[in-house]
Symmetry: C2
Subunit: 356 residues, 2 copies
C-alpha cells in the first residue's frame, strides 16, 4: 500500500491544457502543489500551477529536471512519446502506469485488449495496407470508418467510407500512418463512466453520463443518463474490469454505446475526461480531485452525486455566449483562459445544475 503524499508534495502534470488546469486547481484543494510540463507557450494550466516547465518532449535535460522536482507524475493526455516516458519513469512514479498508456495510445492495441477481456467492441480490423483495407471492408462491410492507430482525437485522423469506392481516398487521408477499420455500431445513445482506482485497488465510479457529440466533438453530457438499473450496473462492472486488468491508478473515461444487445465499449481514455466535467458541480469530490487523490494515494471519494447536471461544452465562438450564461441562475462557468478562439477549440464549459 502506498503512503498518501503529504501536504506540500508536488504533482507533476504532463500537458498544460484545460485538463491540467483543472487538475491543478483540484490539487490545491488538497494542499498539494503542481508542476506543469508543456511544450507550448502560455498554457492554460500555467495560470494556476506552482511551476511550469516549457520544453519539448525530446528535451531530455528538461524532462529529468521536471521529474526530479516532483513527487509523482501524471498526465492530461495519452500521446506522450515513449522516449519521454522512458526518461520520466527513472525520476518518479508515473500514474496511471505505462501499460495504460501503451494500450490506449494505439487503437488496434486498445480494441484487442478490450476484446480479450471479453468486452464487446465495434468490429475492427488492422489495416497495414490497401490489400488489408479491401479484406477488412469485405469482412466488416460499408459504411465503416478508417482511423489512424495513433494520435487521433476529437474526430481527427478519421475518414468515413460509405461505399467501397471511397476506400482509396480514405487510405490516402491516413498519409501512410498505420490504421484500423472500424464498423459502425447501431446504438441508441452513448454514455460514459468516469471510473477511478487507487494504488490499493479500491475502485469508485461516478454516475454514468449521457453524451451527445456534434462533428466528432462532445457537445453535452447529461446526468443521470438514460440507463436501466441493469445497464448502470453493467457499465460500472465493465469500467472496473478494465481498470483492474491494467492495475490502473487514476481516473479513466470509458465511453460505451447502449445497444439492444448490451453495452459496447467505444473507447477508453487514461485520464480525466471531458464527459466527467459535470462532476465539478454535482459531486463533493469531482473527477479532477478524484484523479489527484488516486495518484497521490489518498482515499477516493465515493462518486455519488448530490445534484443532476447538464454539462455543455463551449466551443469556438460559443465563448460569445458567456455574458448571457453568466446571468443564468443555475449555470456554473468553467473557462479555460485560452488566448485565442478557434473554430472547434474547446474554450470552456457550462454546468447547469438541475434542482430536484
Amino acid at each position: 500500500m502506498t503512503e498518501p503524499l503529504p501536504q506540500g508534495s508536488v504533482i507533476g502534470i504532463v500537458g498544460g491544457g484545460q485538463l491540467g488546469r483543472m487538475l491543478s486547481v483540484a490539487a490545491s484543494r488538497l494542499g498539494l502543489r503542481t508542476h506543469i510540463f508543456e511544450p507550448g507557450a502560455n498554457p492554460p494550466a500555467g495560470h494556476v500551477a506552482h511551476a511550469v516547465t516549457t520544453a519539448a518532449y525530446d528535451d531530455a535535460a528538461a524532462l529529468r529536471a521536471f521529474g526530479a522536482a516532483v513527487d509523482v507524475i501524471t498526465y492530461e493526455f495519452e500521446n506522450i512519446p515513449t522516449e519521454a516516458l522512458d526518461i520520466l519513469q527513472g525520476c518518479a512514479p508515473i500514474r496511471p502506469g505505462r501499460e495504460a498508456l501503451r494500450v490506449s495510445q494505439d487503437r488496434l492495441t486498445e480494441k484487442s485488449f478490450l476484446r480479450d477481456l471479453g468486452l464487446m467492441t465495434a468490429p475492427f480490423s488492422d489495416v497495414p495496407d490497401a490489400a488489408a483495407l479491401d479484406a477488412a471492408l469485405g469482412a466488416i462491410g460499408a459504411p465503416a470508418i478508417l482511423k489512424t492507430r495513433r494520435f487521433g482525437y476529437d474526430g481527427k485522423g478519421q475518414a468515413r467510407i460509405n461505399r467501397p469506392e471511397d476506400a482509396a481516398a480514405a487510405l490516402a487521408d491516413m498519409a501512410g500512418a498505420p490504421a484500423i477499420l472500424e464498423g459502425f455500431v447501431a446504438f441508441g445513445h452513448e454514455v460514459s463512466v468516469i471510473a477511478a482506482r487507487g494504488p490499493g485497488g479500491q475502485v469508485a465510479c461516478f454516475d454514468p453520463g449521457e453524451n451527445v457529440h456534434e462533428g466528432g466533438i462532445l457537445r453535452t453530457t447529461t446526468v443521470p443518463a438514460r440507463l436501466s438499473t441493469k445497464q448502470t450496473t453493467d457499465a460500472v462492472l465493465i469500467a472496473a474490469k478494465i481498470l483492474n486488468a491494467l492495475d490502473y491508478v487514476g481516473v479513466m473515461g470509458v465511453e460505451l454505446f447502449v445497444t439492444p444487445g448490451g453495452l459496447v465499449v467505444n473507447e477508453i481514455a487514461p485520464r480525466v475526461h471531458n464527459s466527467g466535467h459535470w462532476t465539478q458541480n454535482g459531486c463533493t469530490v469531482d473527477q479532477f480531485e478524484q484523479h489527484i487523490r488516486a495518484v497521490a494515494g489518498w482515499p477516493l471519494g465515493d462518486g455519488s452525486r448530490h445534484c443532476d447536471v447538464v454539462m455543455e461544452n463551449l466551443i469556438g465562438d460559443d465563448l460569445d455566449r458567456v455574458p448571457e450564461l453568466a446571468r443564468q441562475r443555475d449555470v456554473a462557468l468553467h473557462l479555460y483562459g485560452k488566448a485565442e478562439v478557434k473554430p472547434g477549440r474547446k474554450m470552456g464549459h457550462a454546468n447547469r445544475i438541475v434542482r430536484g
Copy 2:
C-alpha cells in the same frame, strides 16, 4: 456602468493567504488570471496564481509595477497601509473602494458608521487614554472588552475587563495603541451574511450562516442558520444598507448577533469571509467567484444554495484529521498548503454537505 473585464484580464490581489488562494482559483473559472502582491515568502495563493510579486508594502516601485501589470486591484485583507493604497490607486481601480477600507480599518470609525446608518451595535466608547477608559467603564459597565482600534483579527489586540480593577492591565495590553471599549451584547447566537454588490449597484446575498467561535476564532458555520423569516429578511436588508452606503463593489462579510431586540451588527469585513467558505459546496457561484465577478464587472450569481452545509475550520493540529476526513463521503476538503502548522493557524476547512 462598468464593462465586464474580458477573458485573459488580470486581477491583482493584495495579500497571498488562503483567501487570495481561493480567489485565484475562482478567477481561473472565469478565464481570468491573477497576480498576487504579498510581502511574505511562499504565499499559499502563489501556488495557484499566474504571477506573484514578493515585496514589502513600502516598496513603491514594486507596488507601481504590480499596479501596472493588472486590470483591477482587490485584496484579501483590510489592513493595507494607506501609503500603499495611495500608490495603487494611481494604477488601476481598487475594488472594494477606499471608503470601505477607511471605515473597516478602524473599529471606532466602523462602529460610528454603523450607528449613523441607524443600525444596532454593541455599546462602544473611544478610549484615547486612562481617563477615557474610566469614563467609558462608568457608562458601559463591566464586563466589557478593550480593543485596539486598528489591526485586530481572530481575537488579537483584545483584553477583557471583568471588573473595574482590570482596567489598567487591559490598557497596558494595548501598548499605547488607540483603543475602544465595547460592551457585551446578550445574544443567543451569531450569524453572518455574505453580501455582494456589483459596480452597477446590483446586490446579492448568500443565505445567512450560523457561526460558532472558540477562543476568538471561527470554528464552524452552519447553513441554514436558526433565523425566522423576518430575521432573515432583516439580516439581508442590513447587509444591503451597509453595501449601498459605501457604494461598495465586491463581497463583504457582515457578522450579526441575534438578540431578542433584533439583530446587532458585530463587525464588517470588506472582503470574502471565513464564514462564507460553505458556499464553495453549497452554491453554483461561491463567495470567491462572486467577489471576482463583482470586481470584474460581471453579473452576480444569485446566492441561493442547492445544499445545506456545515463548514468546519481546520486549525493547527486539526490538520492531523485530514486522512480521516478524506474518507468521509460528504466532506469536501479545502486545504491551504501552508508550509508550517502553528497553534491557532487556519490550515484548511472541511465543508460537510447535508443531503436533503
